[in-house]
Amino acid sequence: MSNKALEINNLDSQIGNFSLSGINFSIEKGTIMGFIGKNGSGKTTLIKTILNMIQSTSGEILFNGTPMFGNEEEVKANIGVVFDSLIYPLNFKPTKIKRMICPFYKTFDDKKFSDFMKRFELDPNKKLSTYSKGMQMKFGVVMALCHNPELIILDEPTAGLDPISRADVIDLLLDLMQNEERSILFSTHITSDLEKIADYITMIDNGKIVFSKVKDEMLDTYMLAHIEKEIMTDDIKSKLIGLKETTFGYQGLCTNNFNIKEIVGIKTTRPTLEDIMVYMDTKK
């Protein structure tokens, strides 16, 4: 038993032309890890590799200290997964799908199923094909949670949802987090969701981890600097990460320990996660 719900060491994997290399990060029990990266950066590939749907070529993946290999049943019984598209057959009713799934989970809770369905206002007796995309996604969330998993992995769960449904899902996740044994891995590019509820943020780009830090520290470490055109120097430029030119001057990301605030003509503001993502990308 470790205090890390998920631990990944030196993971490599490959699918088609895309590869992940040297992935290292871990999720502390009882916390929410937000996973950001632009489209094609490897978020879904990494999640699939973690779940052993894509083969890893080296490295190890430990769930609560136990490796997946050889312990699939035990490990998967404790994981709930929500993918970005529905994995359940569309022409079935939720009750039928539930009957197909619950024999495999010892801890499946029928009452939780009906409670969640009610909470999301989903009719369990209507075929999935009659559900809207948002409802289908919510159903995916329901199915992932009924067996009381300790690790919940969500791959872009809120992408197709309207703001109200998004808030519903996030509410539910926060409710679940009241239990200290639960941990969540939440991959998304709607950074505003993570801005609030995430404890840690990991950013991935082109198959490599860019950073994996406590979110608050991340937002404290960086500043967004607004520099007037006239006072821009090469020295300042070299201290900035990512640079954008605007009508009035320049905007760039920099670290907090640079005395940039004192320079006249420069204003600094606190960055958002989106800023960090965008500016760290234009760095290339």
Binding site: N52, K76, P103, F104, Y105
Partner: protein
């Protein structure tokens, strides 16, 4: 436990096309037509002389269809069967079982509704055979003269070999290796069967080589049948082990 098995089979079945897949792209449709024509060609050149029989067409074609569908499942997007907590060993065994179950289901469906399908097949044969075909869709008259049991057993062995070897190949993760293996299996299998056909005697009834009947009256048929049966058992067992190794290795 039986309930779990049945449920898992249902799960797998529902992840296979045509239940879950999206519409194939134009390119894929062309590919499927090409593959289908190839299968028809193989059937005709191997098994049909002056008669067309479902007893050769089905044991040859249905396993191929099963394998194709399972291939689509295993390498497609919908991976419900992998999210559910079961050991990899369980998955592999169920996939082999699934191939048998699917073939069986198709057999049942065809014999219940498939008269039209057979009619089409025979129609194609009729159109491609320039010399004219003696349309004997019911072989009972022939079977009174020649007992085709040996031929039927041979076809059963072929069916099993196609299924087991095919599934083992489906479990290969590397796409290129997998497709090469499929091609290899097809070439070797077809080659062997064709070689067998060339050495078969002419059926005294129709004047041409009819696969089932000719095999049954072939002098070496017993030896061949015995060797094929042994090969079937060996291939089945080996395929399960190899398939397991392909799927379960880290």
């Amino acid at each position: 436990m039986l309930n779990k098995l049945i449920t898992y089979q249902r799960l797998l079945l529902n992840s296979t096309p045509p239940f879950s897949s999206t519409l194939p792209s134009f390119f894929n449709v062309i590919l499927y037509c090409l593959a289908f024509s190839m299968i028809v060609f193989m059937n005709i050149s191997l098994f049909f002389g002056n008669t067309a029989s479902s007893n050769t067409f089905l044991p040859f074609t249905l396993p191929i269809i099963s394998i194709w569908m399972i291939n689509r499942t295993l390498h497609g997007d919908h991976r419900l069967f992998e999210t559910v907590p079961v050991s990899r060993k369980y998955v592999v065994l169920n996939i082999f079982l699934l191939s048998l179950v699917m073939t069986f289901i198709m057999y049942v469906l065809i014999f219940t509704f498939g008269a039209a399908l057979i009619g089409i097949m025979i129609g194609i044969v009729y159109l491609t055979e320039s010399k004219g075909v003696n349309l004997l869709s019911d072989e009972s008259s022939l079977q009174q003269v020649i007992n085709t049991t040996k031929g039927d057993v041979l076809m059963l062995c072929i069916l099993l070999i196609i299924l087991f070897a095919g599934i083992a190949i489906v479990l290969i993760r590397n796409k290129k290796l997998r497709n090469t293996s499929f091609a290899g299996l097809t070439v070797i299998g077809y080659g062997l069967l064709f070689f067998l056909k060339l050495n078969m005697p002419i059926s005294p009834i129709t004047g041409k080589v009819e696969f089932l009947q000719s095999f049954s009256i072939m002098p070496q048929s017993n030896i061949i049948l015995l060797s094929v049966a042994i090969a079937t058992v060996l291939i089945s067992i080996t395929s399960v082990f190899i398939g397991y190794k392909f799927y379960v290795r880290k």
